[in-house]
């Protein structure tokens, strides 16, 4: 979804390589759709702005609210999309959202083995590794070995539950609230929730523990 500067000759070139096969294909298709008046260039630019406005801070706010507000937590687990819409987070891509709650018994991990389905409305664009084949294949084949490489060690007594998004549903992991955060404000709690924790490759942690170790 990159807009290329080919019709803005004055723009500095970011790279000198010739465009790849799919890049040429995308440009040709886009220009054809514009020429046939099926889409407007402003629509493409607008959609990029929509995507750019979404980032993990939105998801972190949702998680922090769920940690402090049991009513919101139940609504979020019952219908993820509806609860996010309470926050004004719109689902422009017509997807549903299942929020997966980590507990003392279950650790959730999300993946899209077919492509790169991701809860973009609440987390923005996925990290590169999420889209690449090693992650996609290993998440469903050897999730424990994969998690260990992220520094996440889950006891064998805890079930690892991998959700493979292939349909119109996206997933968001609701991490376990770290111990020792009883007096944290909602904002402080949100700062503990990382993108990776909402994918399920790590857990939510107190930053202090790491700083003390160093």
């Amino acid at each position: 979804m990159e807009l290329h500067g080919h019709d803005h000759a004055s723009e500095p070139q970011a790279h000198d390589e010739a465009p790849g096969y799919y890049e040429v294909m995308e440009t040709a298709l886009r220009e054809l759709l514009v020429e046939k008046k099926l889409i407007d260039p402003a629509e493409i630019r607008r959609q990029i702005e929509v995507l750019d406005s979404r980032n993990p801070a939105l998801g972190a706010k949702i998680v922090a609210r769920a940690w402090v507000d049991p009513g919101f937590r139940s609504r979020l687990l019952a219908d993820g999309r509806k609860a996010c819409e309470e926050f004004g987070i719109t689902f422009y891509d017509d997807t549903g959202l299942i929020v997966l709650e980590n507990t003392a018994e279950v650790h959730n991990l999300i993946v899209c083995t077919l492509c790169s389905c991701y809860p973009r409305p609440v987390l923005g664009l996925p990290p590169d590794w999420y889209k690449q084949k090693p992650y996609r294949a290993r998440a469903v084949k050897e999730p424990r070995a994969l998690l260990a490489e992220f520094g996440t060690h889950i006891q064998d007594s805890v079930e690892i539950r991998v959700s493979d998004s292939t349909a119109m549903l996206r997933y968001l992991v609701l991490p376990l609230r770290p111990a020792g955060t009883e007096n944290f404000s909602e904002e402080q709690l949100a700062s503990l929730v990382t993108r990776d924790a909402m994918i399920g490759v790590v857990t939510a942690e107190l930053p202090e523990t790491k700083e003390i170790m160093q």
Binding site: V162, T166, A167
Partner: protein
Amino acid sequence: MKEAIRDRQHSSEDIVKAFGEEPMFDIGDEVIVSVRYPIGHFRVPNYVRGKRGIVEAVIKPTAINNEEEGYGRNAGKRRHYYRVAIAMTELWPQYVPPGDGLRIEIFETWLERR
């Protein structure tokens, strides 16, 4: 049964539903994912085909069929997706520990009763 029929006489349950409108499977149903290799666009990964699972949730509302949509045919083809639980040991016989599992949404046309 008679009571059920009588109750329905004055309710909206008299409405006849279209094919595919009611889910074919219920929560807890034991299913197997079809083994098919159609040409075109479909969203059932190879690694789950032929594997046994249990319906964990019926996804509402109905959705259009990806395979039909890939050819621009959408009308009258709405059916349900099901969130299916499959054990890791069903997917990979050597897998340990045995408690781990997979969840995936499968379109109705890809599920068979077992």
